[in-house]
Amino acid sequence: MAESILETFGLTMKFGGVIAAHNINFKLKARELRCLIGPNGAGKSTFFKCITGQQTPTEGEVYLRGMDTSRWMPHQIASLGVGIKTQTPSVMNGLSVSENIWLSARRFHDGPEAKRKTREIIERLALGAIAKDQLGKLSHGERQLIELGLVIVGDPWLVLLDEPAAGLSGEDIERMTTIINEINKTAAIIIIEHDMQFIRSIAKIVTVFHQGAVLLEDRVDKVMSDPTVRNIYLGKRN
Protein backbone atom coordinates (compact mmCIF):
# COMPACT_ATOMS: atom_id res chain seq x y z
CA MET A 1 0.00 0.00 0.00
CA ALA A 2 1.26 3.45 -0.92
CA GLU A 3 2.18 5.61 2.03
CA SER A 4 0.10 8.66 2.97
CA ILE A 5 1.72 12.00 2.23
CA LEU A 6 -0.94 13.81 4.22
CA GLU A 7 -2.61 12.57 7.33
CA THR A 8 -4.68 14.33 9.97
CA PHE A 9 -5.61 12.90 13.34
CA GLY A 10 -8.54 14.34 15.28
CA LEU A 11 -8.03 17.71 13.64
CA THR A 12 -10.24 20.28 15.38
CA MET A 13 -10.46 24.02 14.86
CA LYS A 14 -12.56 26.24 17.08
CA PHE A 15 -13.20 29.95 16.62
CA GLY A 16 -14.57 31.01 19.97
CA GLY A 17 -17.80 29.05 20.24
CA VAL A 18 -17.86 28.05 16.56
CA ILE A 19 -16.41 24.64 15.80
CA ALA A 20 -15.29 25.03 12.19
CA ALA A 21 -13.63 21.62 11.98
CA HIS A 22 -14.33 18.74 14.30
CA ASN A 23 -12.23 15.62 14.81
CA ILE A 24 -11.19 15.20 11.20
CA ASN A 25 -9.21 12.07 10.33
CA PHE A 26 -8.04 12.30 6.78
CA LYS A 27 -5.55 10.45 4.59
CA LEU A 28 -4.15 11.20 1.17
CA LYS A 29 -1.77 9.10 -0.90
CA ALA A 30 0.95 10.41 -3.20
CA ARG A 31 -0.42 11.64 -6.55
CA GLU A 32 -3.98 11.05 -5.45
CA LEU A 33 -6.70 13.41 -6.67
CA ARG A 34 -9.38 14.02 -4.09
CA CYS A 35 -12.46 16.18 -4.18
CA LEU A 36 -13.82 17.88 -1.08
CA ILE A 37 -17.45 18.90 -1.16
CA GLY A 38 -19.94 20.21 1.33
CA PRO A 39 -22.24 23.17 1.81
CA ASN A 40 -20.93 26.63 2.64
CA GLY A 41 -19.60 26.87 6.17
CA ALA A 42 -18.90 23.13 6.34
CA GLY A 43 -15.27 23.84 7.29
CA LYS A 44 -13.55 22.97 4.01
CA SER A 45 -11.46 26.14 3.76
CA THR A 46 -10.63 25.92 7.46
CA PHE A 47 -9.37 22.38 6.90
CA PHE A 48 -7.05 23.69 4.15
CA LYS A 49 -5.83 26.51 6.36
CA CYS A 50 -4.90 24.04 9.08
CA ILE A 51 -2.84 22.06 6.58
CA THR A 52 -1.00 25.13 5.25
CA GLY A 53 -0.34 26.62 8.67
CA GLN A 54 -2.54 29.67 8.15
CA GLN A 55 -4.50 28.42 11.14
CA THR A 56 -3.05 26.49 14.04
CA PRO A 57 -5.43 23.65 14.92
CA THR A 58 -7.01 23.84 18.36
CA GLU A 59 -6.59 20.09 18.75
CA GLY A 60 -5.21 17.22 16.73
CA GLU A 61 -2.27 16.83 14.37
CA VAL A 62 -1.37 17.28 10.73
CA TYR A 63 1.33 15.04 9.30
CA LEU A 64 2.99 15.89 6.00
CA ARG A 65 5.25 13.17 4.65
CA GLY A 66 5.45 11.74 8.14
CA MET A 67 6.33 15.04 9.87
CA ASP A 68 4.11 16.63 12.47
CA THR A 69 3.59 20.09 10.96
CA SER A 70 0.61 21.10 13.11
CA ARG A 71 2.44 24.03 14.63
CA TRP A 72 4.62 25.08 11.71
CA MET A 73 4.49 28.49 10.06
CA PRO A 74 2.94 28.82 6.57
CA HIS A 75 6.29 29.56 4.91
CA GLN A 76 7.86 26.46 6.45
CA ILE A 77 5.07 24.24 5.19
CA ALA A 78 5.16 25.86 1.75
CA SER A 79 8.91 25.27 1.63
CA LEU A 80 8.28 21.54 2.09
CA GLY A 81 6.47 21.49 -1.25
CA VAL A 82 2.87 22.28 -0.42
CA GLY A 83 1.02 24.80 -2.62
CA ILE A 84 -2.40 26.33 -2.16
CA LYS A 85 -4.78 28.30 -4.33
CA THR A 86 -6.91 30.12 -1.79
CA GLN A 87 -10.65 30.62 -2.13
CA THR A 88 -10.37 34.35 -2.86
CA PRO A 89 -7.63 34.85 -5.48
CA SER A 90 -4.47 35.78 -3.64
CA VAL A 91 -1.92 37.31 -6.00
CA MET A 92 0.29 40.38 -6.15
CA ASN A 93 -2.23 42.67 -7.85
CA GLY A 94 0.09 45.65 -8.25
CA LEU A 95 2.76 43.66 -10.09
CA SER A 96 2.99 42.27 -13.60
CA VAL A 97 2.28 38.67 -14.55
CA SER A 98 5.94 37.83 -15.06
CA GLU A 99 6.94 39.57 -11.84
CA ASN A 100 4.35 37.47 -9.99
CA ILE A 101 5.63 34.23 -11.47
CA TRP A 102 9.23 35.28 -10.89
CA LEU A 103 8.53 35.83 -7.19
CA SER A 104 7.37 32.25 -6.96
CA ALA A 105 10.26 30.92 -9.06
CA ARG A 106 12.81 32.88 -7.04
CA ARG A 107 11.80 31.06 -3.88
CA PHE A 108 13.12 27.78 -5.23
CA HIS A 109 15.72 28.81 -7.79
CA ASP A 110 18.59 31.29 -7.97
CA GLY A 111 19.20 34.13 -10.43
CA PRO A 112 19.27 32.82 -14.03
CA GLU A 113 17.42 29.61 -13.18
CA ALA A 114 14.56 31.63 -11.66
CA LYS A 115 14.34 33.67 -14.86
CA ARG A 116 14.36 30.55 -16.99
CA LYS A 117 11.66 28.94 -14.86
CA THR A 118 9.55 32.11 -15.13
CA ARG A 119 9.75 32.04 -18.93
CA GLU A 120 8.93 28.35 -18.94
CA ILE A 121 5.74 28.76 -16.89
CA ILE A 122 4.64 31.79 -18.91
CA GLU A 123 5.02 29.74 -22.04
CA ARG A 124 3.35 26.69 -20.56
CA LEU A 125 0.28 28.68 -19.50
CA ALA A 126 0.38 30.74 -22.72
CA LEU A 127 0.63 34.02 -20.80
CA GLY A 128 3.12 35.59 -23.19
CA ALA A 129 0.78 38.24 -24.56
CA ILE A 130 -0.07 39.55 -21.10
CA ALA A 131 3.25 38.90 -19.36
CA LYS A 132 3.88 42.61 -18.79
CA ASP A 133 0.33 43.46 -17.74
CA GLN A 134 -0.50 44.34 -14.19
CA LEU A 135 -2.49 41.58 -12.52
CA GLY A 136 -5.06 43.90 -11.00
CA LYS A 137 -6.18 44.83 -14.50
CA LEU A 138 -6.76 41.29 -15.72
CA SER A 139 -9.98 39.29 -15.68
CA HIS A 140 -10.97 36.99 -12.84
CA GLY A 141 -10.32 33.91 -14.97
CA GLU A 142 -6.85 35.08 -15.92
CA ARG A 143 -6.01 35.81 -12.30
CA GLN A 144 -7.22 32.36 -11.20
CA LEU A 145 -4.98 30.79 -13.81
CA ILE A 146 -1.98 32.90 -12.85
CA GLU A 147 -2.45 32.00 -9.20
CA LEU A 148 -2.35 28.38 -10.26
CA GLY A 149 0.83 29.24 -12.15
CA LEU A 150 2.36 30.66 -8.94
CA VAL A 151 1.50 27.47 -7.11
CA ILE A 152 3.02 25.07 -9.62
CA VAL A 153 6.29 26.96 -10.20
CA GLY A 154 7.78 25.38 -7.09
CA ASP A 155 6.96 21.83 -8.27
CA PRO A 156 4.92 21.02 -5.15
CA TRP A 157 3.99 17.42 -4.29
CA LEU A 158 0.77 18.49 -2.61
CA VAL A 159 -1.56 21.05 -4.18
CA LEU A 160 -4.67 22.39 -2.45
CA LEU A 161 -7.21 24.09 -4.71
CA ASP A 162 -10.01 25.99 -2.97
CA GLU A 163 -12.81 26.42 -5.51
CA PRO A 164 -10.57 26.85 -8.57
CA ALA A 165 -13.46 26.81 -11.03
CA ALA A 166 -15.61 29.35 -9.21
CA GLY A 167 -16.60 32.22 -11.46
CA LEU A 168 -15.02 30.72 -14.56
CA SER A 169 -16.69 30.38 -17.94
CA GLY A 170 -17.15 26.98 -19.56
CA GLU A 171 -14.12 27.44 -21.77
CA ASP A 172 -11.94 28.51 -18.83
CA ILE A 173 -13.13 25.52 -16.80
CA GLU A 174 -11.96 23.22 -19.57
CA ARG A 175 -8.53 24.83 -19.48
CA MET A 176 -8.48 24.55 -15.70
CA THR A 177 -9.29 20.84 -15.98
CA THR A 178 -6.43 20.27 -18.39
CA ILE A 179 -3.98 22.00 -16.08
CA ILE A 180 -5.23 20.13 -13.04
CA ASN A 181 -4.74 16.83 -14.80
CA GLU A 182 -1.27 17.89 -15.75
CA ILE A 183 -0.36 18.89 -12.19
CA ASN A 184 -1.71 15.56 -11.03
CA LYS A 185 1.01 13.76 -12.97
CA THR A 186 3.52 14.84 -10.34
CA ALA A 187 1.50 16.00 -7.34
CA ALA A 188 -1.34 14.93 -5.11
CA ILE A 189 -4.28 17.32 -5.30
CA ILE A 190 -7.22 18.15 -3.08
CA ILE A 191 -9.93 20.19 -4.76
CA ILE A 192 -12.79 21.95 -3.04
CA GLU A 193 -15.60 22.40 -5.54
CA HIS A 194 -19.33 22.93 -5.83
CA ASP A 195 -19.71 22.28 -9.54
CA MET A 196 -20.97 18.66 -9.72
CA GLN A 197 -20.20 18.29 -13.39
CA PHE A 198 -16.66 19.48 -12.85
CA ILE A 199 -16.23 17.04 -9.96
CA ARG A 200 -17.55 14.14 -11.99
CA SER A 201 -15.12 14.94 -14.78
CA ILE A 202 -12.00 14.77 -12.63
CA ALA A 203 -12.53 13.03 -9.31
CA LYS A 204 -12.44 9.41 -8.28
CA ILE A 205 -12.82 9.63 -4.51
CA VAL A 206 -14.91 12.34 -2.90
CA THR A 207 -14.92 13.41 0.75
CA VAL A 208 -18.05 15.12 2.01
CA PHE A 209 -17.80 17.71 4.78
CA HIS A 210 -20.82 18.66 6.81
CA GLN A 211 -20.88 20.95 9.85
CA GLY A 212 -17.14 20.71 10.37
CA ALA A 213 -16.95 16.93 10.22
CA VAL A 214 -16.42 14.27 7.57
CA LEU A 215 -19.82 12.90 6.67
CA LEU A 216 -18.84 10.44 4.00
CA GLU A 217 -15.93 9.34 1.88
CA ASP A 218 -16.49 7.20 -1.19
CA ARG A 219 -16.26 6.85 -4.95
CA VAL A 220 -17.73 9.75 -6.86
CA ASP A 221 -20.74 7.91 -8.28
CA LYS A 222 -21.65 6.47 -4.87
CA VAL A 223 -21.42 9.89 -3.23
CA MET A 224 -23.49 11.53 -5.93
CA SER A 225 -26.31 9.08 -5.51
CA ASP A 226 -26.23 9.13 -1.70
CA PRO A 227 -29.56 10.44 -0.42
CA THR A 228 -28.11 12.23 2.66
CA VAL A 229 -25.57 14.03 0.50
CA ARG A 230 -28.24 15.10 -1.96
CA ASN A 231 -30.29 16.31 0.92
CA ILE A 232 -27.75 18.51 2.66
CA TYR A 233 -26.29 19.67 -0.58
CA LEU A 234 -29.43 20.67 -2.35
CA GLY A 235 -30.93 21.99 0.86
CA LYS A 236 -28.10 24.28 1.91
CA ARG A 237 -26.29 25.18 -1.25
CA ASN A 238 -25.91 28.92 -1.66
Binding site: T52, Q54, M73, P74, H75, A78, S79, G83, I84, T86, S90, V91, M92, N93, G94, L95, E99, W102, L103, S104, R106, R107, F108, G111, E123, R124, L125, A126, L127, A129, I130, G141, E142, L145, L150, G154, D172, R175, T178, I179
Partner: protein, 344 residues
Amino acid sequence: MAGSFSRDVIATIGLTVVVIWILPYVISTFTITVLIVYGLLGLSLGLVWGYGGILCFGQAVFFGIGAYTYAISAINIGESTLPMLLSIIVPSLFAALLGAMMFYGRLTDVYLGVITLVVTLIFYRFINSTAGPHYKIGNAQLGGFNGIPGFQTLNIPGQPSSYIWGDGYFYFCAVVLAIVYLGVSILLRSDFGRIIVGIRENETRMSLLGYDVRARKTILFAIGGGIAGLSGALFANWGEIVTPSVFSLGQSAEIILWCIVGGLGTRFGPILGAAGLSYLKFLLGQQSFVDNTLITGLILVFFVLFLPKGIVPTIVNVWDLKFGRLLSDRFQKPRRNRKLRLNG
Protein backbone atom coordinates in the same frame (compact mmCIF):
# COMPACT_ATOMS: atom_id res chain seq x y z
CA MET B 1 10.56 49.31 -11.48
CA ALA B 2 10.83 51.27 -14.68
CA GLY B 3 14.07 52.29 -16.34
CA SER B 4 17.59 51.00 -16.07
CA PHE B 5 20.12 51.55 -13.35
CA SER B 6 22.44 53.55 -15.60
CA ARG B 7 19.55 55.94 -16.22
CA ASP B 8 19.20 56.26 -12.46
CA VAL B 9 22.86 57.09 -12.08
CA ILE B 10 22.72 59.77 -14.79
CA ALA B 11 19.54 61.29 -13.33
CA THR B 12 21.00 61.30 -9.83
CA ILE B 13 24.23 62.95 -10.93
CA GLY B 14 22.32 65.49 -13.00
CA LEU B 15 20.02 66.36 -10.12
CA THR B 16 22.88 66.56 -7.65
CA VAL B 17 24.70 68.97 -9.93
CA VAL B 18 21.58 71.14 -10.22
CA VAL B 19 21.17 71.19 -6.45
CA ILE B 20 24.83 72.04 -5.88
CA TRP B 21 25.24 74.68 -8.60
CA ILE B 22 21.89 76.28 -9.30
CA LEU B 23 19.83 76.03 -6.11
CA PRO B 24 22.30 78.15 -4.05
CA TYR B 25 21.40 81.15 -6.27
CA VAL B 26 17.84 80.89 -4.94
CA ILE B 27 18.17 79.52 -1.41
CA SER B 28 21.03 79.86 1.05
CA THR B 29 23.26 76.78 1.24
CA PHE B 30 22.67 76.62 5.00
CA THR B 31 18.94 76.15 4.35
CA ILE B 32 19.40 73.72 1.45
CA THR B 33 21.61 71.59 3.68
CA VAL B 34 18.80 70.95 6.13
CA LEU B 35 16.39 70.33 3.25
CA ILE B 36 18.76 67.63 2.02
CA VAL B 37 18.98 66.15 5.52
CA TYR B 38 15.20 66.00 5.72
CA GLY B 39 15.14 64.55 2.21
CA LEU B 40 17.29 61.69 3.47
CA LEU B 41 14.92 61.19 6.40
CA GLY B 42 11.96 61.18 4.00
CA LEU B 43 13.73 58.61 1.84
CA SER B 44 14.15 56.32 4.86
CA LEU B 45 10.41 56.14 5.50
CA GLY B 46 9.71 56.13 1.76
CA LEU B 47 11.70 52.90 1.57
CA VAL B 48 10.11 51.22 4.58
CA TRP B 49 6.54 52.36 3.97
CA GLY B 50 6.41 52.88 0.20
CA TYR B 51 8.17 49.66 -0.74
CA GLY B 52 7.82 47.46 2.34
CA GLY B 53 4.29 48.49 3.23
CA ILE B 54 5.34 49.09 6.86
CA LEU B 55 3.66 52.25 8.11
CA CYS B 56 5.93 53.41 10.91
CA PHE B 57 4.64 56.28 13.01
CA GLY B 58 7.95 56.54 14.79
CA GLN B 59 10.57 57.11 12.11
CA ALA B 60 11.67 60.13 14.17
CA VAL B 61 12.90 57.71 16.85
CA PHE B 62 15.69 56.46 14.60
CA PHE B 63 16.42 60.01 13.45
CA GLY B 64 16.69 61.06 17.10
CA ILE B 65 18.78 58.07 18.14
CA GLY B 66 21.12 58.84 15.24
CA ALA B 67 21.44 62.48 16.31
CA TYR B 68 22.02 61.62 19.97
CA THR B 69 24.40 58.77 19.17
CA TYR B 70 26.47 61.17 17.11
CA ALA B 71 26.51 63.90 19.77
CA ILE B 72 27.30 61.55 22.65
CA SER B 73 29.99 59.58 20.86
CA ALA B 74 31.55 62.71 19.31
CA ILE B 75 31.98 64.21 22.77
CA ASN B 76 33.56 61.02 24.06
CA ILE B 77 35.69 60.16 21.03
CA GLY B 78 36.56 63.57 19.68
CA GLU B 79 36.96 62.52 16.04
CA SER B 80 33.86 62.33 13.84
CA THR B 81 34.42 59.23 11.68
CA LEU B 82 33.48 56.57 14.24
CA PRO B 83 30.57 58.64 15.64
CA MET B 84 29.19 58.93 12.10
CA LEU B 85 29.34 55.16 11.67
CA LEU B 86 27.83 54.57 15.11
CA SER B 87 24.96 56.91 14.28
CA ILE B 88 24.03 54.51 11.48
CA ILE B 89 24.70 51.27 13.34
CA VAL B 90 23.01 52.03 16.68
CA PRO B 91 19.60 53.11 15.30
CA SER B 92 19.78 50.30 12.78
CA LEU B 93 20.27 47.73 15.55
CA PHE B 94 17.51 49.32 17.58
CA ALA B 95 15.20 49.14 14.56
CA ALA B 96 16.14 45.49 14.04
CA LEU B 97 15.27 44.73 17.65
CA LEU B 98 11.99 46.64 17.60
CA GLY B 99 11.12 45.26 14.16
CA ALA B 100 11.85 41.67 15.20
CA MET B 101 9.57 42.07 18.22
CA MET B 102 6.76 43.45 16.08
CA PHE B 103 7.06 41.21 13.03
CA TYR B 104 7.83 37.96 14.83
CA GLY B 105 5.05 38.78 17.26
CA ARG B 106 2.69 38.80 14.26
CA LEU B 107 1.33 42.24 15.11
CA THR B 108 -1.28 43.67 12.80
CA ASP B 109 -0.67 47.00 11.08
CA VAL B 110 -2.72 48.95 13.59
CA TYR B 111 -0.71 47.68 16.57
CA LEU B 112 2.47 48.32 14.65
CA GLY B 113 1.44 51.94 14.25
CA VAL B 114 0.52 52.23 17.91
CA ILE B 115 3.76 50.66 19.14
CA THR B 116 6.01 52.82 16.99
CA LEU B 117 4.04 55.85 18.15
CA VAL B 118 4.38 54.89 21.81
CA VAL B 119 8.11 54.24 21.46
CA THR B 120 8.48 57.76 20.05
CA LEU B 121 6.62 59.18 23.04
CA ILE B 122 8.74 57.21 25.49
CA PHE B 123 11.97 58.49 23.97
CA TYR B 124 10.70 62.06 23.87
CA ARG B 125 9.62 61.92 27.52
CA PHE B 126 12.73 60.16 28.68
CA ILE B 127 15.24 62.42 26.94
CA ASN B 128 13.34 65.46 28.19
CA SER B 129 13.69 64.21 31.74
CA THR B 130 17.46 63.84 31.66
CA ALA B 131 18.27 67.34 32.85
CA GLY B 132 19.98 66.21 36.08
CA PRO B 133 23.78 66.03 36.29
CA HIS B 134 23.70 62.26 36.89
CA TYR B 135 22.39 61.61 33.36
CA LYS B 136 25.79 61.21 31.80
CA ILE B 137 27.19 58.85 29.18
CA GLY B 138 30.95 59.05 29.47
CA ASN B 139 31.74 62.75 29.27
CA ALA B 140 28.46 63.62 27.59
CA GLN B 141 25.78 65.31 29.68
CA LEU B 142 22.34 64.42 28.22
CA GLY B 143 20.99 67.80 29.30
CA GLY B 144 17.23 67.12 29.24
CA PHE B 145 15.22 69.65 27.27
CA ASN B 146 18.34 71.80 26.77
CA GLY B 147 19.89 69.08 24.66
CA ILE B 148 23.57 68.51 23.99
CA PRO B 149 25.61 71.37 22.53
CA GLY B 150 29.31 71.70 21.89
CA PHE B 151 30.25 68.35 20.38
CA GLN B 152 32.93 67.75 17.79
CA THR B 153 31.40 68.38 14.36
CA LEU B 154 32.30 66.63 11.14
CA ASN B 155 35.99 66.59 10.32
CA ILE B 156 38.13 65.21 7.52
CA PRO B 157 38.72 61.58 8.57
CA GLY B 158 41.83 61.34 10.75
CA GLN B 159 42.19 65.12 11.10
CA PRO B 160 40.04 66.19 14.05
CA SER B 161 40.87 69.87 13.62
CA SER B 162 40.00 70.09 9.90
CA TYR B 163 36.28 70.67 10.06
CA ILE B 164 33.90 70.18 7.16
CA TRP B 165 31.50 73.08 7.51
CA GLY B 166 29.65 75.78 5.58
CA ASP B 167 29.54 75.10 1.84
CA GLY B 168 31.82 72.09 2.27
CA TYR B 169 29.27 70.51 4.58
CA PHE B 170 26.51 71.35 2.10
CA TYR B 171 28.37 69.48 -0.67
CA PHE B 172 29.03 66.60 1.70
CA CYS B 173 25.31 66.22 2.53
CA ALA B 174 24.31 66.43 -1.13
CA VAL B 175 26.76 63.68 -2.04
CA VAL B 176 25.62 61.52 0.90
CA LEU B 177 22.01 61.82 -0.22
CA ALA B 178 22.98 60.93 -3.81
CA ILE B 179 24.94 57.88 -2.63
CA VAL B 180 22.15 56.65 -0.33
CA TYR B 181 19.62 57.22 -3.12
CA LEU B 182 21.65 55.07 -5.48
CA GLY B 183 22.11 52.51 -2.73
CA VAL B 184 18.34 52.33 -2.27
CA SER B 185 17.96 51.97 -6.05
CA ILE B 186 20.37 49.04 -6.07
CA LEU B 187 18.57 47.48 -3.12
CA LEU B 188 15.18 47.77 -4.81
CA ARG B 189 16.52 46.24 -8.00
CA SER B 190 18.04 43.33 -6.13
CA ASP B 191 16.15 40.09 -5.56
CA PHE B 192 15.67 41.15 -1.93
CA GLY B 193 14.06 44.41 -3.05
CA ARG B 194 11.69 42.69 -5.46
CA ILE B 195 10.69 40.20 -2.79
CA ILE B 196 10.04 43.08 -0.37
CA VAL B 197 7.69 44.66 -2.92
CA GLY B 198 5.97 41.29 -3.29
CA ILE B 199 5.44 41.24 0.47
CA ARG B 200 3.99 44.76 0.33
CA GLU B 201 1.59 43.58 -2.37
CA ASN B 202 0.43 40.40 -0.63
CA GLU B 203 2.03 39.19 2.55
CA THR B 204 -0.17 36.09 2.83
CA ARG B 205 0.61 34.92 -0.68
CA MET B 206 4.32 35.47 -0.20
CA SER B 207 4.37 33.34 2.93
CA LEU B 208 2.29 30.69 1.15
CA LEU B 209 4.98 30.68 -1.54
CA GLY B 210 7.50 29.86 1.17
CA TYR B 211 9.03 33.24 2.01
CA ASP B 212 9.81 34.07 5.62
CA VAL B 213 8.12 37.45 5.62
CA ARG B 214 9.10 38.34 9.20
CA ALA B 215 12.84 38.16 8.63
CA ARG B 216 12.71 40.25 5.48
CA LYS B 217 10.56 42.94 7.02
CA THR B 218 12.91 43.12 10.00
CA ILE B 219 15.90 43.59 7.70
CA LEU B 220 14.15 46.31 5.70
CA PHE B 221 13.08 48.05 8.88
CA ALA B 222 16.69 47.99 10.12
CA ILE B 223 17.95 49.47 6.85
CA GLY B 224 15.34 52.24 7.10
CA GLY B 225 16.40 52.85 10.70
CA GLY B 226 20.03 53.14 9.64
CA ILE B 227 19.26 55.71 6.94
CA ALA B 228 17.11 57.72 9.36
CA GLY B 229 19.95 57.55 11.90
CA LEU B 230 22.43 58.88 9.35
CA SER B 231 20.13 61.80 8.60
CA GLY B 232 19.91 62.41 12.36
CA ALA B 233 23.68 62.64 12.59
CA LEU B 234 23.78 65.03 9.63
CA PHE B 235 21.08 67.09 11.34
CA ALA B 236 23.11 67.22 14.55
CA ASN B 237 26.14 68.44 12.61
CA TRP B 238 24.08 71.05 10.83
CA GLY B 239 22.54 72.48 13.99
CA GLU B 240 25.65 71.85 16.16
CA ILE B 241 23.23 70.91 18.93
CA VAL B 242 20.75 68.08 19.53
CA THR B 243 17.56 68.61 21.51
CA PRO B 244 14.69 66.25 22.40
CA SER B 245 12.56 67.81 19.65
CA VAL B 246 14.17 65.34 17.21
CA PHE B 247 12.03 62.70 18.95
CA SER B 248 8.82 64.73 18.88
CA LEU B 249 5.54 63.39 17.56
CA GLY B 250 5.34 66.43 15.30
CA GLN B 251 8.56 65.33 13.66
CA SER B 252 7.20 61.80 13.10
CA ALA B 253 3.95 63.13 11.68
CA GLU B 254 5.81 65.41 9.30
CA ILE B 255 7.81 62.52 7.82
CA ILE B 256 4.56 60.71 7.04
CA LEU B 257 3.19 63.87 5.45
CA TRP B 258 6.31 64.21 3.28
CA CYS B 259 5.76 60.72 1.93
CA ILE B 260 2.07 61.30 1.22
CA VAL B 261 2.67 64.59 -0.55
CA GLY B 262 5.76 63.49 -2.48
CA GLY B 263 4.32 60.12 -3.40
CA LEU B 264 4.63 56.64 -1.93
CA GLY B 265 6.18 53.85 -3.92
CA THR B 266 8.73 56.18 -5.50
CA ARG B 267 12.22 56.94 -4.31
CA PHE B 268 12.26 60.58 -5.29
CA GLY B 269 8.77 61.49 -4.02
CA PRO B 270 9.51 61.40 -0.29
CA ILE B 271 12.72 63.40 -0.83
CA LEU B 272 10.86 66.04 -2.81
CA GLY B 273 8.03 66.06 -0.27
CA ALA B 274 10.48 66.48 2.60
CA ALA B 275 12.45 69.28 0.98
CA GLY B 276 9.38 71.06 -0.41
CA LEU B 277 7.29 71.00 2.74
CA SER B 278 10.24 71.87 4.96
CA TYR B 279 11.06 74.84 2.77
CA LEU B 280 7.45 75.93 2.85
CA LYS B 281 7.50 75.67 6.62
CA PHE B 282 10.68 77.74 6.66
CA LEU B 283 9.03 80.44 4.52
CA LEU B 284 5.87 80.40 6.61
CA GLY B 285 7.99 80.70 9.73
CA GLN B 286 9.19 84.10 8.53
CA GLN B 287 5.72 85.61 8.65
CA SER B 288 2.93 85.65 11.18
CA PHE B 289 -0.27 86.21 9.16
CA VAL B 290 -1.24 82.57 8.81
CA ASP B 291 -0.73 79.75 11.23
CA ASN B 292 1.86 77.19 10.20
CA THR B 293 -0.02 74.06 11.26
CA LEU B 294 -3.18 75.32 9.56
CA ILE B 295 -1.38 75.45 6.22
CA THR B 296 0.14 72.02 6.81
CA GLY B 297 -3.32 70.64 7.55
CA LEU B 298 -4.77 72.23 4.41
CA ILE B 299 -2.00 70.76 2.28
CA LEU B 300 -2.70 67.30 3.69
CA VAL B 301 -6.43 67.64 2.99
CA PHE B 302 -5.71 68.88 -0.52
CA PHE B 303 -3.47 65.95 -1.33
CA VAL B 304 -5.72 63.32 0.19
CA LEU B 305 -8.66 64.67 -1.82
CA PHE B 306 -7.10 65.67 -5.13
CA LEU B 307 -3.69 64.04 -5.46
CA PRO B 308 -3.94 60.91 -3.30
CA LYS B 309 -0.96 59.34 -5.03
CA GLY B 310 1.29 62.30 -4.36
CA ILE B 311 3.26 64.56 -6.67
CA VAL B 312 5.81 62.26 -8.28
CA PRO B 313 3.49 59.34 -9.20
CA THR B 314 0.96 61.81 -10.61
CA ILE B 315 3.58 63.45 -12.80
CA VAL B 316 4.83 60.03 -13.93
CA ASN B 317 1.26 58.98 -14.77
CA VAL B 318 0.59 62.09 -16.82
CA TRP B 319 3.90 61.66 -18.60
CA ASP B 320 3.12 58.03 -19.41
CA LEU B 321 -0.33 58.92 -20.68
CA LYS B 322 0.98 61.70 -22.91
CA PHE B 323 4.12 60.12 -24.25
CA GLY B 324 4.36 56.53 -23.10
CA ARG B 325 1.17 55.35 -24.74
CA LEU B 326 1.92 57.28 -27.89
CA LEU B 327 5.20 55.44 -28.21
CA SER B 328 3.88 52.02 -27.29
CA ASP B 329 0.93 52.37 -29.67
CA ARG B 330 3.28 53.13 -32.49
CA PHE B 331 5.92 50.59 -31.86
CA GLN B 332 4.25 47.64 -30.26
CA LYS B 333 2.28 44.93 -31.90
CA PRO B 334 -1.42 45.13 -31.08
CA ARG B 335 -2.30 42.74 -28.29
CA ARG B 336 -5.45 41.28 -29.59
CA ASN B 337 -5.22 37.61 -28.85
CA ARG B 338 -5.21 37.96 -25.09
CA LYS B 339 -7.15 34.80 -24.35
CA LEU B 340 -5.28 32.22 -22.38
CA ARG B 341 -4.38 29.01 -23.99
CA LEU B 342 -2.59 26.00 -22.69
CA ASN B 343 0.30 24.70 -24.70
CA GLY B 344 0.27 21.19 -23.31
